[in-house]
C-alpha cells in the first residue's frame, strides 16, 4: 500500500514536472524572480533540450529570398505555391509543412514588391495558422500591419519574422515540436526550391555556394524531424538528399576574429570553401525539386 501511495505521489509530481517541461502554451506574464534559486525545486532538464542536449536552428527562408534578390534573378510569380491550394492539406503535419512553404513564399514575393501576392499569401497563412491554433501569431493586427506597410519591405519582413517566432514559441512551449519542425522544414525546402527553380544550364556560383552550404542545416533538419517523430517519408526523402551532399566538398580554415567592443560587434573572418561538381549539383537540384513536388502535388 505504501509503495502504491508513493507511486501515486511520485506520478503526480513527475506529471507536474513534465508539464513544466513540456508545455501549456499561453503567453503568461507572471513576474519572475531574478535571484538565486528562482525555481524551487529546479525543473528537470529532460524534455527541454533536444537530442544530445542540442537545440537545432534552421536558417530563415528570408535569407534565401534575400540571396535571390542579391543575385538579381528575375521575379517569377508562378514559382510560389498557389495560394488557393491550401485546402488540399488536411493533416496537421501537412498543414504545418504548407505554412512553412507559404512563409518562404511570403518572403520571396515581399522582396520582389508584389504586394497583392503578398497579401494573398498572408491570408492563406492566416487560414493555415488558424487550423493549427496559431491565430494569436498571425492575427488581424498582423494583416493590418502588413497592409499599412506594403511599401516598406523591411517592416514586412520583420512583421513576418516576429509572427513566425511567436508561433514557434507557442508550439515549443505547448510541446508541439513536430508542428514546429514541419514548419521549418517547409520553409527550408521552399527556400531552396525558389533558389534553384530558375537555374538553367549555367548556375550562378553564389547559388552553387549557397546550395553547397546546406549540408549541415540539412543534417540538423533531419535530426529535428526524427526527434519529433515527423513524417517518415519526408525524413527518408531528406536523407536521400543528404546522401547527395556527401559529394560536396567543404574546407574550413579558422581565422582569428576581430573585435569591436565599442560597437558590441565581432567580425568572424574564418574562411569556408565549398566545391560541388556540376553533375553532383544537378542531382541535388533534382532532389530538391522532387521533394517540393512530393509535398505540393
Amino acid at each position: 500500500m505504501t509503495v502504491r501511495n508513493t507511486s501515486i505521489w511520485s506520478s503526480a509530481l513527475v506529471l507536474g514536472l513534465m508539464l513544466a517541461a513540456c508545455g501549456g502554451g499561453g503567453t503568461g506574464n507572471a513576474p519572475v524572480e531574478n535571484t538565486k534559486d528562482s525555481l524551487n525545486p529546479p525543473p528537470e532538464r529532460t524534455g527541454l533540450l533536444n537530442v544530445g542536449g542540442k537545440i537545432f536552428s534552421i536558417p530563415s527562408p528570408v535569407q534565401t529570398a534575400l540571396l535571390i534578390q542579391d543575385l538579381g534573378l528575375p521575379y517569377n510569380n508562378a514559382l510560389p505555391f498557389a495560394t488557393d491550394s491550401a485546402s488540399r492539406f488536411t493533416s496537421k503535419g501537412m498543414k504545418a509543412l504548407a505554412l512553412g512553404i507559404y512563409g518562404a513564399d511570403l518572403a520571396y514575393v515581399t522582396i520582389h514588391k508584389d504586394g497583392q501576392k503578398a497579401l494573398k499569401t498572408l491570408k492563406t497563412i492566416e487560414q493555415l495558422s488558424s487550423d493549427l491554433n496559431l491565430s494569436h501569431a498571425f492575427n488581424k493586427e498582423l494583416l493590418d500591419g502588413f497592409k499599412n506597410n506594403l511599401n516598406n519591405e523591411d517592416s514586412l519582413l520583420r512583421f513576418s519574422g516576429v509572427a513566425f517566432r511567436s508561433a514557434d514559441q507557442y508550439l515549443k512551449m505547448d510541446q508541439q515540436g513536430d508542428v514546429s519542425a514541419a514548419i521549418l522544414a517547409g520553409g527550408w525546402i521552399e527556400g531552396l526550391y525558389l533558389t534553384v527553380q530558375d537555374s538553367g544550364k549555367k548556375v550562378d556560383p553564389k547559388i552553387i555556394k549557397r546550395l553547397g552550404e546546406q549540408g549541415h542545416t540539412l543534417n540538423n533538419l533531419i535530426s529535428l524531424l526524427e526527434q519529433n517523430g515527423n513524417d517518415a517519408r519526408l525524413i527518408a526523402a531528406l536523407k536521400d538528399l543528404a546522401s547527395a551532399y556527401t559529394a560536396v566538398h567543404v574546407t574550413y580554415t579558422f581565422e582569428q576574429p576581430t573585435l569591436d567592443a565599442a560597437n558590441k560587434t565581432t567580425y568572424i573572418n574564418s574562411v569556408t570553401k565549398t566545391e560541388v561538381a556540376p553533375k553532383d549539383l544537378k542531382i541535388i537540384i533534382q532532389k530538391v525539386k522532387a521533394i517540393r513536388i512530393s509535398i505540393t502535388a
Partner: protein, 139 residues
C-alpha cells in the same frame, strides 16, 4: 487523507508548470527587445531550462555576408546568462563572459560557417532558470 496528498502534489506540480512557462514567456518578451528594428527575426524561438552549471547547446549555420544579432537572456535582468560561440573546430569566436555577460552581441560573418552556441547560467547570479536565445539578422 491519502487521496488528498497525491492531488495536492499534482497541484504543486501544475503550479510549477505554470510558473516555468510564465517565466520563459516573460524572459522571451524582455529578450526580444534586444532584436531591434534593424534586425529581422529568424522566426525561431530557442529555450532551455538550466540548473547549476548545465549547458544548452545551440547548433546553427551562419551565412556569409550577413550581420547577425544574438540575444541571450535568463531572468528579468541582464547578465544572468553566459553565451559563447564556437566554430566546428571548437575555436572560440566570441563569449559575452568577457563583457559582463552582455545580453546581445553582433556577429559580422564574412564566410558561411557552422557554429555552436553554448549557454550557461552565471551561477553567481542564478542557480536555475529558463534560458532564451533569439537570433536576428540584418538585410
Amino acid at each position: 487523507m491519502r487521496s488528498i496528498i497525491p492531488s495536492l502534489t499534482l497541484l504543486a506540480g501544475l503550479f510549477i508548470a505554470g510558473g516555468v512557462h510564465a517565466q520563459c514567456d516573460t524572459i522571451a518578451s524582455l529578450c526580444e527587445k534586444n532584436i531591434t528594428a534593424q534586425y529581422i527575426p529568424d522566426g525561431q524561438f530557442y529555450r532551455a531550462l538550466l540548473k547549476d552549471d548545465e549547458t544548452a547547446e545551440f547548433d546553427l549555420t551562419l551565412y556569409g555576408g550577413t550581420t547577425y544579432r544574438i540575444a541571450a537572456c535568463s531572468g528579468t535582468s541582464d547578465g544572468n546568462l553566459v553565451f559563447s560561440v564556437y566554430d566546428k573546430e571548437h575555436n572560440l569566436l566570441f563569449s559575452n563572459k568577457d563583457f559582463n555577460n552582455d545580453p546581445y552581441w553582433d556577429l559580422v560573418v564574412a564566410n558561411t560557417l557552422d557554429v555552436t552556441i553554448d549557454a550557461v547560467l552565471d551561477t553567481r547570479k542564478a542557480s536555475s532558470g529558463c534560458a532564451v536565445l533569439l537570433i536576428g539578422f540584418k538585410k
